[in-house]
């Protein structure tokens, strides 16, 4: 056997081994992290050592138990009111995850619908829909959210509504651009040749081809939405302060970052984990959905 032949064989063998060994990790880790967080959110009352709102003023600003001077009763320490950080992070998962999931679901659906209709139909309908999108993009979202909070009162529903009201425009822009390109594609002409209706072309031919960018944007949006929610909470227009949310916790600790970094740090870690897992999952999904990469 020639040396080159052996080299080539080794590469093939290595590829086969790597394929079976590594294929699943970039899927398993983010899924494990995300499902753990979802389970945490669901079973929060059983998992948390304390109720999230229980204050204990004698234990204010206690550092995490594994640090010097830490109280073993509070694993991740306490905040300015002596509330247990661990319990609040666990309960905060409920608000943060449900808000971001709901907002992404709403904005992605609405944005995709508008984007496909605008891009595929073109002409006057496109012009009208895109002007609405532009208006939505040019409004100061936080201001409107504050206004909404004033009118409707700060609540879970208000936050979701406020974030959805402006989030869809980005999706609409993206999907419209893709649809515009796809409308010219020969396979769309081919579908028209076989007698497909516009409705059918939009759902069967355009939509599956915009899923990839949609997923990428959506997974990136997880982080954006959690941060936007925290901004609203910070301004007092978000979830009412007694309900813990990660974003609100991060901003709560902002003034104490030099003396009690753990107040902001641990919810920050939770946000980071979700965002990172979301991105990894998005990457994996995109590869999975692209038939060209499916073979590897």
């Amino acid at each position: 056997m020639s040396i080159e032949r052996k080299k080539a064989d080794d590469i093939v063998k290595g590829f086969k081994k790597r394929r079976t060994a590594t294929l699943q990790w970039n899927f398993l880790i983010p899924v494990a992290v995300l499902s753990l967080l979802v389970l945490t959110a669901i079973f929060a009352p059983w998992l948390a050592p304390y109720p999230p709102t229980q204050t204990s003023l004698t234990e204010r600003l206690a550092p995490p138990s594994f640090m010097e001077g830490g109280n073993p009763a509070y694993f991740l320490g306490t905040d300015t009111l002596g509330r247990d950080i661990l319990s609040r992070v666990i309960f905060g998962a409920r608000v943060s995850l449900s808000v971001s999931l709901l907002v992404i679901l709403i904005t992605a659906s609405v944005g995709t619908l508008i984007g496909i209709i605008a891009g595929y139909t073109g002409g006057r309908i496109d012009a009208i829909l895109m002007r609405i999108t532009d208006i939505s993009l040019s409004f100061p979202a936080i201001l409107i959210a504050l206004l909404l909070a004033v009118i409707l009162g700060p609540s879970f529903g208000t936050v979701v509504l406020a974030l959805s009201l402006f989030g869809w425009a980005g999706y609409a822009r993206l999907v419209r651009g893709e649809s515009l390109r796809l409308r010219q594609a020969d396979f769309v002409s081919q579908a028209r040749i076989t007698g497909s209706s516009s409705m059918r072309i939009m759902t069967r031919h355009i939509f599956p081809n915009v899923i990839n960018p949609l997923i990428v944007i959506s997974t990136l949006q997880i982080g954006m939405v959690i941060l936007a929610e925290s901004a609203l909470s910070y301004l007092g227009a978000g979830i009412p302060p007694t309900t813990p949310s990660w974003g609100a916790m991060v901003s709560d600790g902002r003034n104490f970052i030099d003396v009690a970094w753990w107040i902001s740090f641990f919810p920050g870690v939770a946000i980071g984990l979700v965002v990172l897992s979301g991105n990894f999952l998005g990457d994996w999904l995109r590869d999975k959905l692209d038939p060209r990469l499916r073979q590897l």
Binding site: Q190, I193, T194, P208, N209
Partner: protein
């Protein structure tokens, strides 16, 4: 080949309305196609061949493209008068079309089985197991090897020639009576091209489908078509049976086109003829005969008045002042 005319186009006018100009891409075109016959439409790029094909399908790019006159009689009905929904029932089922580029005319996210069955399901309303049978028989008709396995392939897994066969299978899946093939072999290399043409001759014999073959390649015409229509700047300048047009072209443009094709019976020192100049801008046509500025035998009248169509033989007609 029967004598049964399935498509009769009468004085078709198609125009594109743009902000700058109105472009009359098809300007009074008439022809017919019989069952089981192939009509070739030949001409340079931009002469209106493709627009003619798209007009027949009523698939002009909206809203700029519109049919502004004429009749398209298919199976006794004028397609120009049908509304959108009625027209959809014809597309794919009665009239089908093959596009030029097989690399882009299949949807990358669906298997070829899915793509062929789409049209079958749309038009025939069969139960699922029957659909699969139809799909496989369409793949067989196009001589795609191992059709059962190919069903689950994605377009990117196939070669260009194989993709074009899949496109053909989609077009033929509902047993259309008329097939418009818009340069289906242009993107293929010469051997695959020859195979594809042989394949379509075979399919035509089996199904008796009428074919309109749009091409700029006279070699393909000689191989495939019974009759030819030569288009120049939106008009048909000459129609004739294929054998006649090669032997005795009457229009100077047809003659020049045929002389610019390499042939085995010409001496190899002989240079190929070319046609001087460029086709006229469709937005700014010369008065009189459109070919006059490039014609070698041009007369005074050619520059002033458009020549009428004159019948010069059996199914042979020409629009040229020289013929009178």
């Amino acid at each position: 080949m029967s004598n049964n005319i399935i498509l009769q186009v009468e004085d078709l006018h198609t125009a594109f309305f743009t902000r700058k100009a109105v472009i009359r891409a098809v300007d009074g075109v008439s022809f017919f196609v019989r069952e089981g016959e192939t009509l070739g439409i030949v001409g340079e790029s931009g002469c209106g061949k493709t627009v003619t094909g798209l007009s027949l399908m009523r698939l002009l790019p909206e809203p700029s493209g519109r049919i502004i006159g004429g009749k398209i009689i298919f199976d006794g009905r004028n397609l120009v008068e049908l509304d959108k929904q009625q027209m959809r029932a014809y597309r794919g089922k009665m009239i089908s079309m093959i596009l030029q580029d097989p690399m882009t005319s299949l949807n990358p996210v669906y298997t070829i089985g899915d793509q062929i069955s789409e049209s079958v399901k749309l038009h025939q309303g069969l139960p699922d197991d029957m659909v699969e049978k139809e799909v496989i028989s369409a793949l067989r008709l196009l001589k795609i090897p191992a059709p059962e396995q190919r069903l689950n392939d994605y377009p990117f897994q196939l070669s260009g020639g194989m993709r074009q066969r899949v496109v053909g299978a989609i077009a033929m899946s509902c047993h259309p009576r008329l097939l418009i093939a818009d340069e289906p072999t242009t993107a293929l290399d010469a051997t695959i091209q020859a195979q594809y043409i042989a394949l379509f001759k075979d399919i035509q014999q089996k199904t008796n489908v009428g074919i309109i073959f749009i091409t700029h390649d006279f070699g393909v015409v000689a191989n495939m078509c019974q009759r030819v229509a030569v288009m120049y700047a939106g008009k048909i300048v000459e129609t004739a049976p294929t054998s006649v047009i090669f032997k005795a072209p009457r229009h100077p443009y047809t003659a020049a086109l045929i002389n610019s094709v390499p042939r085995l019976d010409r001496s190899k020192d002989d240079r190929l003829d070319s046609i001087e100049g460029q086709p006229p801008s469709m937005a700014n046509l010369p008065p009189g005969c459109r070919f006059a500025p490039r014609c070698t035998v041009v007369q005074d009248i050619c520059r002033k008045q458009e020549p009428p169509e004159v019948k010069v033989g059996d199914e042979h007609s020409v629009s040229c002042w020289r013929v009178n």
